[in-house]
Symmetry: C2
Subunit: 238 residues, 2 copies
Amino acid sequence: VLKALLTDIDGTITRPDRRISTGSVETIRSLVDSGIDVVLASGNTSCFMDALCKMIGTQGTFIAENGGVYRIGFSGSLVISGDQTVVRSALSIVQDHFSKKGIPLDLFSPTYRFADIAFARTVPAEEVKLVLRDYPVQVIDTGYAIHLQAPGINKGTALVALAEKMGLAPADFLAIGDSVNDIQMLKTAGIGITVANAHPDTKAAAQYIATKEYGDGFVEAVEKYYPYFRARNRSTTI
Amino acid sequence: VLKALLTDIDGTITRPDRRISTGSVETIRSLVDSGIDVVLASGNTSCFMDALCKMIGTQGTFIAENGGVYRIGFSGSLVISGDQTVVRSALSIVQDHFSKKGIPLDLFSPTYRFADIAFARTVPAEEVKLVLRDYPVQVIDTGYAIHLQAPGINKGTALVALAEKMGLAPADFLAIGDSVNDIQMLKTAGIGITVANAHPDTKAAAQYIATKEYGDGFVEAVEKYYPYFRARNRSTTI
């Protein structure tokens, strides 16, 4: 029995052009309207995720910054994990390295991030990893951005923490994603699935791989599991 | 001839439950894909508007904070109008007034606002106006929030400024909205229209009123004007 859905955004409920898939939006709304909690999980900022929750129409619960931040419900407070100080130091090292080559980093929403740092893939992720090989920081290439994250934090660790605060177990969740940074949450959830465009390593961690890509694959896969969802007792404190 | 669309969000491209209308999203995408600029205008924060532009898939141009902030394109910088100092002073007066009655104000995203201040409609807008009657600040009740704004700033003044930077005239825009804070932009644009759920004063300022409400009215009205849109020379600097 599944009680909640946890879904990645980019590459999973988007179209190939990165616009949100309206079919995915309708699928999420039908779950929400059936009393199923839908949690959005992304490397994006909490402000971005709040906007997405409102416009799609979920209960407002999200994981942002690849697990560095989460929030339960629209009125919940942001819970921040990991030390951004170490991430900011790592960023300085990377900036120094590339500025010597005359390449400035294109930071994504730095003032709206509380846990990780994200920048454009205008520099090779492998070179960033090499520069930071002895530094206690994760370098994550999601295919959409390069993220610097405190060690031991990912969407899976955030799932464990938020599930407990929601009065659920990670096993109650169906998780769906496409990137390597989704692997931990797919493994942590009761059932982990991917869309057809997922990274091979992500597919290897999944119990089901949709035959369709992007948002169409999301709709296909979630509809397949729809009979296993049960609305939990809504008197549970959120 | 119309060259761009300027649209309000809440009440105009949403459904009655405040979720975004997927029909409106598809209508906006068809304009964008035809080379027509679509500008989103709202009382919401610039971060929220950025998320919406990405999710819908516009060119990234928006008016936020009811005209207090605008941006041209995803890579544009925020342009902030009006002095938030006077707005913050006005907020203190309002907070003092209601705290004496034991009513705390519920501020909306205060750290993400650069021009106006917004709070929940848990206090009467008329009482806020009375408290600030001698203070140089606008009190705007959009039906979704109460906003405090520097004088002389609205979505219409932002339209004048951003149109010039886009190499367009306000007369090149079709503007659509529903609330009283949309009136100035409807009057400033070449053609101003409303959805059927619009405020009577907003309808009075419009050249066309859709027969349908909310997102359905948006789709109906924009489709009516679709033959009058012409993609402008895309070599124009944005």
